[in-house]
Symmetry: C2
Subunit: 153 residues, 2 copies
DNA sequence: CCGTCTTCGCAAGGACATTGCGCGGGACTT
DNA sequence: AAGTCCCGCGCAATGTCCTTGCGAAGACGG
């Protein structure tokens, strides 16, 4: 996998903001012929630099309307403890985001649920079953103020 | 704007997972002719149900590598106080996500920065300038475990 | 029972994506 | 410095796809 040059970077910047742009227009905006652009795009996709394309829906169209922010502390910071926790949390499909954090808690999770009953199920079946957890703190999003896919978009 | 039927819902579900699928294949997977599918997609986009399409990049390709989670408390919960804060926070391009929350803090923000110096600038120029703030608590993501665009993807 | 409205499928024309091919410029060797 | 290799480009062609106009079928209400 070779390094990204400035044309690749321009392509990525455009595709972050408009993932459904046609190859022809993308080529024009980065100053390439459509064929060269198509070949570069193919490389970016196959090498994994672009991991996918996704439609961004307005909140009223979403099935999963409820967002919970979950702070979790583990019983230790040993590599094995972290690895076991992370392997388990990856299996829960409702966890959209999970970061290992600095600060008071070890992990922060963003969990999507359809409603409160659905969240109760997720909490019971998934979150409570995560290994090495000593503290779980759930907060709910009352309202979404901003949800941008990328910086400055 | 009419309600979404089951075909619209199927289209949205597919487009959430593959935003660059061709109209022809999308039509086939929801059981419509390409022309009918194209017209429905046009309506979904123009009515705002689909707010955009975005390429999802692997973290190594991103300019903005550093993620900060910022908890903020305001001096009150009056509608005017919240509205003024929200109007101000929307102006900062580095704030990717902002929720009004239940729990200890009033707002939680996900902020993207290029590096620590960039974050220091954002904190100084934007976050510190937000109105009615009485407490700011920044934590940094040490490692990304999960970053899914949608449930179960 | 008829008019209207909506949404479908079909067909055509124009745009688009992709692949093979040949060229040119840079790097490296002799 | 000349030769060679190799990577990436543009061009061209072909097959596919997207879109729009058109007519028909069904739902609904007067």
């Amino acid at each position: 996998m070779s390094a990204l040059d400035s044309i690749d970077a321009a392509m990525l910047r455009i595709l972050q903001q408009n993932g459904r742009i046609s190859n022809a227009e993308l080529a024009e905006r980065v100053g390439l012929s459509p064929s060269a652009c198509s070949r570069r795009l193919d490389i970016l996709e196959k090498s994994g630099v672009i991991s996918g394309y996704h439609a961004h829906l307005s909140q009223k169209a979403l099935d999963y309307r409820m967002i919970a922010i979950v702070h979790i502390s583990l019983s230790g910071q040993f590599a094995k403890t972290l690895a076991e926790f992370e392997a388990a949390v990856k299996l829960c499909p409702n966890v959209l985001v999970c970061y290992l954090m600095s600060g008071e808690y070890d992990y922060i999770l963003r969990v999507a649920a359809k409603d409160l009953a659905d969240y109760e199920r997720i909490h019971r079946d998934w979150l409570s079953a995560l290994p090495h957890v000593v503290k779980i703190n759930s907060s709910f999003a009352l309202r979404e103020i901003i949800d941008r896919p990328n910086v400055g978009v």
